[in-house]
Symmetry: C2
Subunit: 208 residues, 2 copies
């Protein structure tokens, strides 16, 4: 069983989507003073590798803790769009044979490192989002910190989240090739949250 | 595939181990003001259902992000000790046939609810910890907020963490019966952290 950890590490110098809360960790107890190390962590709900709940864009949508655990598991496909220079379009998607309900889009975002925020990150086009919805997909993962183009009016988030499609953002597909895997993407179970940082892994499908 | 989510929900009224940071969430953006809900989360590294890294008790021990992802997955046994009134001892453990490297100890802690901190929570005795280590176990999960007796000198944490045994605390086994499962317990990948809140699930073993 080969496992890929497609989660970026959370730390105080990681890139943060502009306007979002930053990440910090500080010790509140040390071994020297109290016998053990204990820390306090502060982070945005959309920090690093994370999963959006419908409540991110819909006030009557489910929060991250209200989503059934089954939503976070299943067969998935990693699709390679590393040749796309701007965005992933319906034309790009039509070139792939898609047969799973979870799609992870690998783009140049996974190849440029995760040390700073790139305003020109690769995003999913509106026609690409519509094509994905029509396939019956239930979960889309992207390797940029947002599924939609930076500084443009948002269409894709609300379109997906109101269609019952969950979104993972900030996944790290650098080491993962196009193909089928078993997806396990577990957010924290935070009451009332619009999203949560998550630990996301792919298990290589040995039955292929 | 039957999945049990053995994670307690994180919220601002949840019980916190005395002296540890509390949990809070606040909105930093709303749909009304900015088009989307975004939140900031503050929590202790040992809040709710969480996994301890060796660095919790060993300054030269691995931090949570340094542990290989394989450490968080594997066959496990849930052992029922709900009849134990004070702690789980080596005598209790010897009555069970143990054949996995991950053990989850179900006690009365899972039955009393998770609405307040109970100082008299059921813990693992020193002789119980020694017995577990000698079996070659690599991961122990308990349903109290600590593996060791409240207000007593700590032995078990350092003993386990220095022996290569990871510890999950605050798991919720109320709905889970004694038996074998596949364990997936994923902490956040937090650089330098002594522990992290985690999402932990059990997959029912259909091959039994």
């Amino acid at each position: 069983m080969k496992i890929y950890d497609i989660t970026h590490t959370l730390n105080s110098s990681m890139p943060i989507y502009p306007g979002n809360p930053t990440f910090s960790i500080k010790k509140t107890s040390t071994i020297e003073d109290n016998g053990s190390n204990v820390s306090e962590i502060t982070m945005g709900s959309h920090t690093g590798t994370h999963i959006d709940a419908p409540f991110h864009f819909l006030n009557d949508g489910k929060t991250i803790d209200e989503l059934g655990i089954e939503r976070f598991l299943g067969k998935c496909q990693v699709l390679d769009f590393t040749k796309s220079s701007d965005c992933v379009t319906d034309k790009d998607l039509k070139e792939k044979e898609i047969n799973t309900e979870i799609l992870l889009l690998k783009t140049k975002n996974s190849l440029v490192g995760f040390d700073k925020f790139h305003e020109d990150f690769i995003y999913l086009s509106e026609d690409g989002a519509r094509y994905i919805k029509n396939l019956g997909v239930k979960f889309v993962g992207v390797d940029g910190l947002s599924v939609k183009k930076f500084h443009e009016k948002d269409f894709v988030h609300k379109f997906f989240l109101s269609s019952g499609i969950l979104i993972a953002e900030g996944i790290d597909l650098e080491e993962v090739s196009e193909g089928e895997y078993f997806f396990v993407g577990l957010p924290l179970k935070i009451a009332g949250a619009d999203a949560s940082p998550a630990r996301i892994i792919l298990v290589e499908d040995k039955e292929k």
